[in-house]
Subunit: 242 residues, 2 copies
């Protein structure tokens, strides 16, 4: 039996302000929860309708009814398990390698894809402006899966961070230097902007270079989605001969 | 006044079988409809709550109430305009350049992103297996925007098409040849597989090469999303020095 106040508390973690206030977030579904349990992110409590799931973990767990799970879930069709995790403390950025900066990325799917890309390309630090979507948003989690545990995600004043990093800073633009002729330094910062408005004026002022992915064919295409542009730029930075 | 049977007919176009049977599809929202009206896709009829929208087009248009629009719409919050378009007839593939093949891609968002990528990278032919998500699915349209009019999308038997093309065929795999050392021919076919199961056994048999995007860092990342992998591979094929 889960008490009403507990259900209300768990449900409240769907909102960013409650996640920030408590330092907790919720993950749902067998695959997602199982994957996060294998990472360094500390689990606080598991609620499940599946008795088998109880036995496999040392985390405090509770068997709940489907109706109870539905009431605490943020999903239309909850999937057997919901777990509360502690948000890991972000380490201050060390700038030992390339660092990715997000300036106002809003779409949870894009954010999730970008975190997975960082994991794939060995980018261990992701700096986000305060107005970038919260990475513990349930929709972001759904798109990152376990990758979120392997990237140090820091919400911070990007301008200040850029100045402190003392590294070359590149921004992605529709009209910039051809990315295929960019001589990438050994390490630096790459900034990706908002889906509609791109990189903010303030950050434009502190960039060292503007890069663009050339368009082929009829040049009629509108623009690349920010997540696919990030994929291409990280690949360009990491590929040999870059 | 829109009659009941008309509303029912328009609503039915949310389903693939009715789109196939009638050769029609529905697009919604001011941005989407305006963009499609500028392409070669023939518009059949426009329904709008906005009198201004009526004047700007030679297409048969009807002013409707918000309640009527809501009843014909597939969206929770319809956005002022809905239009019925004719599905353009796909031309038989000519294989004059690189062609992208999708083998069972299911997610509408991925499909939409991939069509936009084709447009960006000047890939004018996209061949899809019959079990790939329908490109006139409303969610695909939302992700492609006008790009759908600039790519010849053909649903076909991929195995037969590959044999007929008589071109080198590459497939994307988790374990294949390093994509950075692949010597791409001037033209060929690139196959991307299903989100969970990859490329089907039948298609694997007719490939000439398997390519992989190398993983950097801790090698713990699960996999790249099919749309981001497509972005990276098309960039590799198109970039100079490829």
């Amino acid at each position: 039996m889960v008490v009403k106040s507990q259900i209300k508390f768990i449900k409240s973690l769907q909102q960013k302000k409650h996640r920030l206030a408590t330092g907790l977030f919720v993950a749902e579904g067998m695959k997602m929860v199982s994957e996060l349990l294998q990472t360094s992110i500390p689990a606080q409590e598991i609620y499940t309708t599946n008795p088998e799931f109880l036995q496999n973990h040392s985390v405090k767990s509770e068997l709940v009814s489907e109706a109870e799970l539905k009431r605490m879930s943020g999903l239309k069709s909850p999937n057997k398990v919901l777990a509360v995790f502690r948000i890991p403390e972000a380490a201050p950025p060390a700038f030992r390698d390339w660092t990715l900066l997000l300036d106002g990325v809003k779409d949870p799917g894009n954010m999730g894809t970008i975190i997975r890309l960082c994991d794939w390309f060995g980018i261990s630090e992701l700096l986000c402006s305060e107005d970038t979507v919260d990475c513990y948003n349930p929709k972001v989690l759904q798109a990152t899966m376990g990758s979120i545990a392997r990237v140090n995600i820091v919400y911070t004043d990007l301008e200040k961070a850029i100045i402190e990093a003392k590294l070359p800073v590149y921004g992605a633009f529709m009209e910039g230097e051809n990315v295929y002729s960019t001589a990438w330094p050994e390490k630096g910062l790459l900034v990706m902007g908002n889906e509609s408005h791109g990189i903010s004026e303030k950050i434009k002022m502190v960039l060292n270079g503007k890069v663009s992915i050339p368009q082929f064919g009829r040049k009629s295409a509108e623009s690349l989605n920010v997540a696919t542009a990030t994929a291409i730029l990280l690949n360009e930075i990491r590929r040999p001969g870059a």
